[in-house]
C-alpha cells in the first residue's frame, strides 16, 4: 500500500511587543515568577482588557509579508475552558474574523524546486501562563508572567507532503518573522511553537485521512523526528486495517515516543462568543501603509534583487539573501570588491567555511565586509593570486594586519603582473628548456599539451620568486609556444 503524507502546521509566534496584548505588563523573558502579572493578567474582579496597538501593527506586517489579505474588521472571541494557567477561565482569541486572511509562502527546497504553502489565516490571541509540574512536591506551580503575551497563531493549509517540506517551511517562517522584526526568533525561549497536523491518504486518492495533532514542538530537529514517528505510527495502524483516532498527541524528542494528550471524555466545547469587553478593531488603509513602511526588504524580494543586480544564479542568490545579516555582509563585500560574482564565491566559500569551523555566526565574524571586499578587489585586479589571497584572508581573520593591502605588502604577496617583465621571464625560461618546448610543439593531443604546460610553471614561479601572476604566465606561455 502506498501512502501520501498530508501535513498542515499551526505555529504560535510570540510577538516582540514590549507589553502584553491586553495589559501594560512587561513581556521580558526570564523574570522571577509572577512578577510580570498585573491585576488584569491575574483576572482580578472588575479588571478589563485594553488591546495593544503594536500587536496589531506586527500582525499586519506579518500579513503583508505573506501576501495575505488584511482583516479590515477583526473581532476578539472568548474561548472558554478551565485550567489554572488561564486566569480568566477563557482565552481571548479570534475565531471568525481574524486580523490576517489567506496568504502564501514560497519555500525553496534542497533540490532547487520551489513549493508554495498556503496560509489559511493568522489570528491574534493571548498566551497562557506556565504550569510547572516538577519541584512543587506533587503540586503544580503556576507562573503567570507569560499569561497575556501577544501571539499570532498561523494556520496553514495541509499543503506539505513530507517532513522535509514541513521543516523547510518552518525554517522559512522562522526566518521571516525574525527578519521583519516581529518576533525574537528564540525557539529555546518558546518564541515560536509548532503544532503539526498529520494524516495519510491512499496514494493518488483525493480523500483525506483522519489527522492527528502533535503539539508544542519547539525545534526543527524534533519536528522532523516527530513527523517521521507519527507517519510510521499511522502507517502501522492503517496497514493493520485499523483506524486513526482524531486526537492530540505529545511527542518526546529525547525518547522518540509519543502519547495521546486528550481523551474523548475530556474533549472541550469551547463555547466561543465575541468578547463583550472589546470592540471590533477596524484597520484602515493608513494603518496598513504605515505597517508596510516598517517592513524591511523581504527575503524573496532580496533574492530577486541579488540576481538582477549582481548577476548571481538562483542558488547563490538564495543562500546569500535568506538571512538579513549575511545579505548585508555580502553587499558590503561586493561594494568594496567590485566583482560581485567573485565576492559571492568568497562569502559562500572561504568565509562561510571559516564561520562554520569556528562555530560563529556572521554577526560574530572577526572581519568586516569591507575588509573582505578589499581583498576581493585585489584578486580581481590581479594584485594577488588565489593562493596568496588565502594567506591574506587567514591574516585578516586572525586580526594581524588590518587590511588586505597592508598584509600583501608585509608578506610580499604582490604578484608581478607587469607583462613586459613576465614576458622576459618566459623567454628566459623557454630558452633554457628547448627540448620541452619542442615536445610541446610536436604534441597533437590538447589534453597532453595542457599537462605539459604545467611543467613550465615550476621554473617560471622559481624565476619570479613565486610572485609571478600564474594566469598571466599561462597566457604568455600559450602565446609564445603556439605561435
Amino acid at each position: 500500500m502506498q501512502w501520501d503524507i498530508v501535513i498542515g502546521l499551526e505555529i504560535h509566534v510570540q510577538l516582540a511587543t514590549k507589553t502584553k496584548i491586553f495589559s501594560g505588563s512587561s513581556t521580558a523573558f526570564g523574570a522571577e515568577p509572577n512578577t510580570q502579572a498585573s491585576a488584569v493578567d491575574l483576572a482580578m474582579p472588575g479588571t478589563l482588557p485594553v488591546p495593544n496597538e503594536q500587536a496589531f501593527r506586527y500582525a499586519v506586517m506579518f500579513g503583508l509579508a505573506v501576501n495575505a489579505e488584511i482583516g479590515r474588521r477583526s473581532v476578539f472571541d472568548r474561548k472558554n475552558y478551565f485550567y489554572p494557567d488561564l486566569p480568566k477561565g477563557y482565552q481571548t482569541t479570534q475565531l471568525d474574523h481574524p486580523i490576517v486572511g489567506p496568504g502564501f509562502v514560497d519555500v525553496d527546497l534542497a533540490d532547487g524546486s520551489s513549493k508554495r504553502v498556503r496560509i489559511h489565516h493568522a489570528h491574534l490571541e493571548e498566551d497562557a501562563g506556565k504550569s510547572l509540574h516538577e519541584d512543587f512536591h506533587g503540586m503544580t506551580g503556576i507562573d503567570l508572567n507569560r499569561a497575556g503575551t501577544p501571539l499570532i497563531e498561523i494556520v496553514t493549509e495541509p499543503d506539505m507532503n513530507s517532513a522535509e517540506e514541513a521543516v523547510a517551511f518552518a525554517k522559512k517562517l522562522h526566518s521571516l518573522v525574525s527578519s521583519i522584526g516581529i518576533c525574537d526568533g528564540d525557539m529555546s525561549q518558546g518564541s515560536l511553537r509548532f503544532d503539526v497536523n498529520i494524516s495519510l491518504k491512499r496514494k493518488g486518492s483525493d480523500e483525506l485521512g483522519t489527522r492527528t495533532e502533535t503539539k508544542n514542538l519547539n525545534s526543527f530537529r524534533f519536528m522532523e523526528q516527530a513527523i517521521a514517528h507519527e507517519v510510521e505510527r499511522q502507517m502501522d495502524i492503517l496497514e493493520d486495517g485499523g483506524r486513526i483516532i482524531q486526537e492530540t498527541r505529545l511527542y518526546n524528542g529525547e525518547r522518540d515516543e509519543s502519547r495521546s494528550m486528550r481523551s474523548k471524555e475530556e474533549a472541550n466545547d469551547y463555547r466561543y462568543f465575541p468578547c463583550p469587553d472589546l470592540l471590533p478593531v477596524v484597520i484602515d488603509d493608513a494603518f496598513i501603509e504605515s505597517a508596510r513602511d516598517l517592513l524591511p526588504e523581504l527575503p524573496d524580494e532580496r533574492k530577486a534583487r541579488f540576481k538582477k543586480r549582481y548577476g548571481l544564479n538562483d542558488y547563490d542568490a538564495r543562500l546569500l539573501s535568506d538571512d538579513a545579516r549575511m545579505a548585508t555582509f555580502f553587499e558590503e563585500t561586493a561594494s568594496h570588491g567590485k566583482d560581485a560574482k567573485l565576492a559571492a564565491n568568497w562569502v559562500l566559500g572561504e568565509f562561510s567555511a571559516r564561520l562554520n569551523a569556528d562555530d560563529k555566526t556572521v554577526v560574530q565574524a572577526p572581519i568586516t565586509g569591507k575588509q573582505l571586499g578589499q581583498l576581493v578587489a585585489r584578486i580581481a585586479d590581479n594584485t594577488v593570486s588565489s593562493s596568496g589571497a588565502k594567506k591574506v584572508f587567514e591574516a585578516l581573520w586572525n586580526g594581524d594586519g588590518g587590511n588586505a593591502d597592508a598584509i600583501i605588502e608585509a608578506q610580499g604577496l604582490k604578484q608581478v603582473s607587469d607583462t613586459g617583465a613576465l614576458e622576459q621571464m618566459v623567454d628566459e625560461v623557454l630558452a633554457g628548456m628547448p627540448d620541452q618546448v619542442a615536445q610541446y610543439q610536436q604534441e597533437t593531443d590538447p589534453k597532453k599539451q595542457k599537462k605539459m604546460l604545467g611543467g613550465f610553471m615550476g621554473p617560471l614561479m622559481k624565476a619570479s620568486k613565486g610572485q609571478g601572476n600564474p594566469k598571466l604566465f599561462n597566457e604568455i606561455l600559450l602565446k609564445k609556444l603556439n605561435h
Binding site: P45, G46, V50, P51, F82, R271
Partner: protein
Amino acid sequence: MHNKSVAELSRELESGKISSVELTREFLDRIKAEDGQYNSFITVTEDQAMADAKAADEQRAAGKAGVWTGVPFAHKDIFCTKGVATTAGSKMLANFVPPYDATVTANFRAAGAVCLGKTNMDEFAMGSSNESSFFGPVTNPWGLANGEKRVPGGSSGGSATAIAARLVPAATATDTGGSIRQPAALCGITGLKPTYGRVSRYGMIAFASSLDQGGTMARTAEDNALMLNVMAGFDQKDSTCVDRAVPDYTATLNEPLKGLRIGLPKEYFSDQLSPAMEQQVRNAVKEYEKLGATVKEVSLPHAKLAIAAYYVIAPAEASANLSRFDGVRYGYRCEDPQDLNDLYTRTRAEGFGGEVKRRILVGTYALSAGYFDAYYLKAQKVRRLIQQDFINAFKEVDVLMSPVSPSPAFVQGEKTSDPVTMYLEDIFTIAVNLAGVPAMSVPAGFVDGLPVGLQIIGNYFEEARLLNAAHQFQQVTDWHQKLPQ
C-alpha cells in the same frame, strides 16, 4: 442633618455650620443604631471614613474644597475599593480585598467625598429583591412600620435602602436589567442608569459585560446630577467606555419643560399592570403635561421579547465572566482540595449561591455547541430589533415614560420559589439595558402605602435631559421627600 440632600449638605459644610467629621460621625452613628433592622451595609469603614472626613475638613480649611468634599456616601459592594473588602454579595469574595480602586471609586476619592462603607446587594448583581446575598437579605424600610419585611428590590437593594433610611444621602449602584431603577422605585428614591459606556466599568465586578452600567442613587434628581458629574467620563482602562465630553449635569436642571415630547409605549401599559399602579404612573404623566409637555402613544413592538433575550444574553456573558472564580488566585477556596477537578467543583459549588449557579448553567447551555445559534445568536439578533424600536421611537418623541415595576415592594420570600416570577419584575426595565439607552426612576406616588416609581427613558447620552425632566417634576411634587416611618 441626615434628612438633607447632598446639595444641602454640601452647602452646610461650605458655610462652616458643621464639619465633615461631625457629619460623618452622625451618619456612622445612625448606621450603627439603625442598620440592624435593614442589613443594608456589608462593610462599614468607620476608621477610614473618620480619617477621610478629617482630611476633607483640612482641604476646606486650605481653601481647596469642591462640592463633594467631606460629603458622606456609600459604594455598592460591586465597586472595588482598595484595601477594603469587596464581596459582590458573595461567599466567593467574602475574603477579597482588592489592591486597586475601581475608576468610579477613584473618582469619588479625588472629589473628596467620604465613603462610609459598602452596601449589600444580590449576589453578583443577579436578582431583583436583594434576597440572594450571602450576607443576608436587605429589608425595605417601607412596610416595617406595619411589621412587614418587604424587599427593597435588587440588585442594588442595599444602596436604595441606606438612602431611604437616611443612613447615607447618596450611594453608587449598578444596573444590568433594572438593578438601579427597580430598587429606587421600591424604596421611593431617585436613581439613574446612564447610557452604556458613559461610566467606566473598570473595577466594577462584571456580571454581563454588554449590559452592566454604573449609576447613581439619591433622593433627588439634583443629587443624582451631582453624582453623575463625578462618575461619568472616558477611561482608558475600559475599552467599551465612550470618549465623549461630560457636561455639567446640574447646569441644565432648571430648563423649562415646555414642548417636551413624551411617548408612552403601549406595550408597557397592558394588562400586566394593575390598575392602581397604572393610575399612579398616569397621574405622574399628567404633571408633565401641566409643565408643558405633550404626550402621545408610541410602540416598542419587540418589547415582549426583551425578557427572553436578556435571560439568554446576560447569563451567557456571566457564565464566562464568573469563570475566573476558581479558588486558584484569590477569593474562596474549598478546604483540602484533592486534585484540580475537586478544587474547581467544590470551590464553585460552595462559593456560589443558587441563583448564580442557575444563571451560569443557563448561560453555559445557551453558548454550547448545537445551541449557540438557536439561543445566543438568536437573542443577539432580537436585541438589535429591540434597539431599533427605541431608535425609531426617539424619532417621534424626546423621552419615553412607563412604570418601573409591575408591583410595589413585595414581601420577602413571596417570589423566591419560582425564578421566572422574579425575572418578570424586570419587564419594564430590561429592554433599556438591551438597547443601552439611559433611564431613570423617579418617585411618583404610592399604592397601598408603598412607593411607586415613574420610569423616564432617554435617547443615547441624554442624561441631562432626563435629570432636567426629573428635577422639574420634583419641583411640583413631593413624593421624593416622603419618609418611611
